[in-house]
């Protein structure tokens, strides 16, 4: 039967508030007697606080309190701390001052005397890996999530083993492999061995991570800026030192996070502890500049990849080594994700991965859209073109022959995936973009300008399972869908909620979504990160709706006779198939559920639900027919989101500038839920990808550990004149078999495929000059086009 809602556009309920400015973000909340707090941050890249003298500050009119690291819970190293006495990067918060106004709070900060002991620092992983290189932390220089900090130093021999400009490859922190790579290289027609660098870059979330908190009757009220809702609730409670039931968490709107606000990051509890200390509500507004220091960043890579290609372009073997710039804390698993992406997108017959995440005194790293997968896409896709050139095949062919099928194995463990239509995405894109005609234009000259074309591909895992769905049919006949997923701004919280209405055959106008405030009865859901929402949340909402349908039929059978199987639903009624006039409206059934009690109205719930869900159901028990269930649907394998991008550019050899003439992104996201939302994702993801590929980077002065890119104009996210006015989008639109409505996530690879396509097109326009470095900025293009050497050394990071 045709879907009424899935695959159709709609207006998400929060759009009006965002357009009119009525939507409230963390910074917009106020409470009586509210104080403002400001942060004193480290002026040094690595230091130990020896003493703090805040007497002069505390004596100022309007200053209420100073909160130091000694007064907040210590986060186990190398996790991100709340406040610290051992700052590990310039701009790291050391203490907070609360005052009656922000200006006074900041005036007070300038009166606080902090004595520091300088410690050695580094902004370059390879420098830290040298035998006597500096460590970013006193405890060591390498951190693997879950394993704490250790020290890895490579030997002089390791460094001497590679020729100048090639990545040395000493002891890794992790290694996996499958197949016989030596045999693969031996059988290859072309073998590339390439060193590459991908820069770190900031998230530039439009809303900085402000937070407001107060305590009332033993409960803590926290208004935060977060991509996620229920998923971060237990962790935040733990960090604060209270039970989840004692925390009210409001994160209804989020002005972008791009991964940096996916978790319950510790900084947001600073006002919680300040509020506790002062007994007053506390607002901590984070400024644009501060966000660049504490807003985290994407990890950069110094990498090396050896790839063996058969004469038809088939990838026989890959040997990948990644040194990840991890920031000073636990960081994120970009390096391992990058390797897994390579294993899937190019389906090598044999592969070895080695890597090491090295600590540096630069902002802490966390996930940024396609963490690892997108860096490796923009690094490796041009190398496919390089191999294709040597093999005499085209850019499409070298990708298509390696496309993963549904049976493609994934990662070091070579586990299963749920579905892959990357090949179909390439086919669809090639046809829609007229690839062969475009390719014929490659290299065409018009004065100083030359045409370049490119194809890019990217992957990210895109779905979880095991979370809870919760909804409510009310005696007024409304369907209330409770979602705890968060709202990072893509509207997928709403798009996936429509699955409940689809299953229950409800009029969408009759539905209400409850979200964004833990008081609204929100179930246990995964966070809104990792491109998972479309897959994970359609399953939970399907499960809850299925439970509601079963309950409707049970109630109908009880009241109208027969068995539940005799009934069906439609037009917001449950009716007897053999005699549709025997029916109950949803409103009447909801009223009956209240009267019947028990499982029908949420007085009893299934044991396998998460405590958070049980608490939510308890709060709404007796108010209607409750549909609630854990997603116990089958899931066996990694859910792949895959995407292909096609691009044509015109590059000016005299200025290093290019214009994107045309771009098409094609998604393998399973069944399309919200076409307009998907198109927006494909195009906006491309914009971010273009930025990653050609504009955005962190730059550090290595002598001082001083960051350059701490403002929009320095960090350079793409402007509207850097991207095409019109872009094109399409989707394979084939269902994933392990999702009840066929959906998979897609957000992240849409960025990587576009960035990769652009880097490929630049190299194509330059007749096959490969930079092995991103972003490819104008000076690199000018130098290449005019035959000059590049200014940076091949392995240099955080560089101009």
């Amino acid at each position: 039967m045709a879907n009424r809602l899935i695959g159709h556009n709609f207006t998400p309920p929060d759009i009006r508030g965002k357009v009119t400015g009525q939507a409230k973000y963390a910074e917009d909340f106020r409470a009586e007697g509210m104080l403002f707090c400001r942060l004193l941050t480290s002026p040094m890249p690595h230091a130990r606080v020896k003493s703090i003298d805040d007497s002069e500050a505390l004596a100022m009119d309007g200053v209420v309190a100073v909160l130091t690291a000694d007064e907040v819970p210590e986060v186990e190293a190398p996790g991100d701390p709340i406040l610290t006495n051992t700052p590990h990067f310039i701009g790291e918060p050391i203490l907070a001052v609360a005052a009656v106004s922000e200006t006074i709070a900041h005036d007070a900060i300038s009166k606080i005397k902090v004595e520091y002991q300088r410690l050695p620092f580094t902004v370059d992983p390879l420098q830290s890996l040298r035998p006597k290189g500096p460590d970013a932390r006193v405890e060591g220089n390498v951190a693997i999530r879950g394993e704490g900090v250790k020290r890895i130093k490579w030997t002089d021999t390791d460094f001497k083993a590679s020729v100048d400009g090639e990545l040395p490859m000493g002891e890794p922190a992790l290694e996996w492999s499958f197949g016989d790579i030596e045999e693969g290289f031996a059988n290859a027609k072309v073998v590339l061995d390439e060193t590459f660098v991908t820069a770190s870059n900031s998230h530039h979330s439009m809303e900085p991570r402000s937070a407001m908190a107060y305590w009332d009757n033993g409960k803590c009220y926290l208004y935060g800026s977060c991509q996620s809702q229920s998923f971060v609730h237990p962790g935040l409670s733990r960090l604060i030192g209270i039970e989840p039931s004692e925390l009210v968490y409001v994160a209804e709107n989020c002005g972008g996070g791009f991964g940096s606000k996916g978790s319950g990051y510790p900084l947001q509890v600073i006002p919680v502890f300040m509020a506790k200390k002062t007994g007053r509500p506390v607002m901590m507004r984070i400024s644009r500049a501060e966000e660049y220091f504490i807003g985290q960043a994407r990890a950069g890579f110094q990498g090396r990849i050896k790839m063996g290609f058969r004469d038809d372009g088939r990838v026989l073997a890959v040997d990948l080594y990644i040194v990840q710039e991890n920031g000073p804390n636990s960081g994120f698993g970009d390096w391992t994700s990058a390797a897994s992406a390579v294993s899937l997108v190019y389906t090598p017959e044999a592969m070895r991965f080695r890597g090491v995440p090295v600590l540096t005194n630069t902002p802490p790293r966390t996930a940024q859209r396609g963490p690892g997968q997108n860096q490796i896409a923009i690094a490796v896709e041009p190398l496919l073109d390089k191999a294709a050139r040597e093999l005499g095949i085209d850019q499409f062919a070298v990708r298509r022959i390696n496309s993963p099928g549904h049976d493609a194995p994934y990662g070091g463990k070579q586990g299963p995936i749920t579905s892959s239509y990357l090949g179909e995405a390439l086919d669809k894109g090639s046809e829609r973009f007229n690839w062969s005609e475009r390719l014929a234009r490659s290299g065409e000259r018009r004065g100083s300008k030359v045409i370049g074309v490119g194809i890019g591909q990217a992957y990210h895992s895109a779905g979880g399972n095991g979370f809870d769905g919760l909804l409510r049919l009310t005696p007024e006949g409304k369907l209330i869908i409770h979602t705890g997923v968060g709202n990072l701004g893509t509207y997928s919280y709403a798009g996936t909620s429509r699955i409940a209405a689809e299953v229950l055959k409800c009029d969408w106008e009759n539905c209400v979504i409850e979200h964004g405030d833990s008081r609204r009865g929100l179930p246990w859901n995964l966070g809104q990160f990792g491109s998972n929402t479309s897959f994970t949340m359609t399953r939970t909402n399907f499960a809850a709706a299925t439970d509601a349908v079963a309950k409707l039929k049970e109630i109908a059978a009880l009241d109208l006779g027969g068995t539940p199987d005799d009934y069906d639903i439609g037009n917001e009624t449950v009716f007897r198939r053999s005699n549709p006039s025997r029916r109950l409206t949803y409103a009447a059934a909801a009223q009956r559920a209240i009267e019947l009690g028990g499982k029908f109205s949420g007085e009893e719930v299934a044991e396998d639900l998460n405590p958070l869900t049980k608490g939510a159901v308890k709060g709404m028990a007796g108010t209607g027919l409750i549909g609630v269930a854990k997603d116990n649907l089958e899931k066996n394998g990694t859910v792949p989101a895959l995407a292909a991008g096609f691009i044509e550019i015109e590059l000016d050899l005299e200025t290093g500038k290019f214009e994107i003439l045309d771009y098409l992104g094609v998604a393998d996201c399973g069944t399309v839920i919200h076409p307009q939302g998907l198109a927006a994702q494909i195009k906006s993801g491309a914009v971010m990808g273009f930025g990653l590929a050609t504009l955005e980077r962190q730059i550090y002065d290595p002598a001082w550990g001083l960051p350059h890119s701490v403002g929009f104009y320095q960090a350079k996210p793409p402007s509207y004149l850097d991207v095409p006015r019109e872009m094109d989008s399409d989707a394979v639109d084939q269902p994933d078999p392990q999702n009840p409505v066929g959906a998979k996530g897609i957000g992240e690879p849409l960025m990587g495929c576009a960035g990769a396509a652009l880097v490929c097109a630049i190299s194509d326009a330059l007749g096959g000059h490969y930079f092995n470095r991103t972003p490819v900025v104008p000076d690199m293009i000018i130098n290449a086009a005019s035959g000059r050497p590049q200014s940076h050394k091949p392995l240099q990071v955080n560089t101009d």
């Binding site: 300038s110 200025t655 002598a703 402007s719 000076d779 200014s791």
Partner: protein
């Protein structure tokens, strides 16, 4: 250190130039004149510049507008870049300035940013902007000129100690148009050539212009001599909007009856502390055909004597190419000028 939290100051909002000048004289070095605010507020927010008194010029009507004079035009210092870019008088006769104005920052910024502010703005050297005690900030070192410094955006020429560059797009245009700058102070009015308005770092390393404390830039005068000449402006920046130039070029050219270059004025920004007027190029092209050969020679002459830093040698071919294009394309159809260096004029 970046702070993003302005400190308190006394705010004055005079309604006429006389009062403004009086206030500036009274407050001297502790006073600060603010126009559009895009440079000033950054400094204030980071608490690197902390004036006691801020004199807001926004209410002074006599500082606004574009007037025809006996010989050319006079532009009030408070005229916004958007007004410049749209003014018929500029578009018809001094399109070079309009083009330059249109390439500054972003439409939103241009709506408030003024021509006077664009000329007076401080350098964007990121070390200096971070608040470090460098030469320009009164200290005794340059952080941007070390063996490991990140100085991609810095100077090629005229650098002895400080290696910062002028970030202005309108300044080279005004130098090319042979404009002059009107300055008022308690002691009266003086007029200096645009070329001489900008301070060489060898002369005073802590200032970008010749303005003394108490001086107010009130107007910009453009003589009629270059009205309707063949113009060329091009800016290359990382981004096509909201970015400062890596290098820009502005030129005005006259062709004689025989089709030879009769005269040319040309200047670049982003290559030294002041707009760099390329007198060698001007002399070289005089009397030659406007062709590839002349343009090639001009480009080479433009970069003679460049001394690159670690990360900015790309500016040599870039500047050479831009000068070449300026010589070759000056006076070509306006559409050519408009599409060069940036996407189009669709941002209005």
């Amino acid at each position: 250190m970046k702070k993003d939290m302005m400190q308190s100051f006394e705010l004055f909002q005079p309604a006429d130039v006389g009062t403004a000048v009086e206030l500036m004289d009274r407050w001297g070095e502790r006073g600060w004149a603010i126009a559009g605010g895009y440079d000033s507020l950054d400094w204030f927010k980071d608490r690197i510049k902390t004036p006691d008194a801020v004199i807001d010029l926004d209410g002074i009507e006599e500082l606004r507008g574009i007037r025809e004079t006996g010989d050319g035009i006079e532009i009030g210092a408070l005229t916004t870049l958007t007004e410049l870019e749209r003014a018929p008088l500029i578009r018809e006769q001094y399109a070079l300035l309009g083009d330059a104005a249109r390439h500054v920052a972003s439409p939103q910024i241009r709506n408030a940013a003024t021509l006077g502010g664009n000329l007076c703005q401080d350098t964007r050297c990121w070390y200096y902007r971070f608040g470090l005690a460098c030469y320009r900030a009164g200290g005794n070192t340059c952080y941007a000129d070390t063996p490991v410094a990140m100085n991609r955006e810095h100077a090629l020429f005229e650098r002895s100690r400080c290696v910062a560059v002028t970030p202005s797009d309108t300044a080279p245009a005004l130098v090319a148009l042979d404009a002059s700058i009107v300055i008022r102070s308690a002691s009266g009015e003086q007029v200096v050539a645009a070329e001489d308005f900008f301070m060489p770092e060898s002369k005073d390393i802590t200032r970008m212009t010749v303005l003394d404390p108490g001086d107010l830039l009130t107007a910009i005068r453009i003589p009629g001599s270059w009205s309707g000449a063949g113009f060329y402006f091009e800016k290359v920046a990382d981004r096509n909007t909201w970015d400062f130039p890596l290098v820009n070029v502005a030129s005005a050219m006259k062709i004689d009856g025989a089709g030879n270059i009769e005269a040319m004025r040309i200047a670049c920004a982003g290559v030294q502390c002041t707009p760099r007027r390329l007198t060698t190029v001007e002399a070289l092209v005089r009397g030659r055909r406007q062709d590839e050969a002349t343009a090639g020679l001009a480009g080479k002459a433009a970069v003679e004597g460049a001394r690159p830093l670690n990360f900015n040698h790309f500016k040599i071919p870039l500047m050479e190419n831009l000068v070449k294009r300026a010589v070759l394309n000056a006076g070509m159809s306006r559409a050519t000028t408009l599409t060069s260096g940036s996407r189009s004029s669709g941002d209005n």
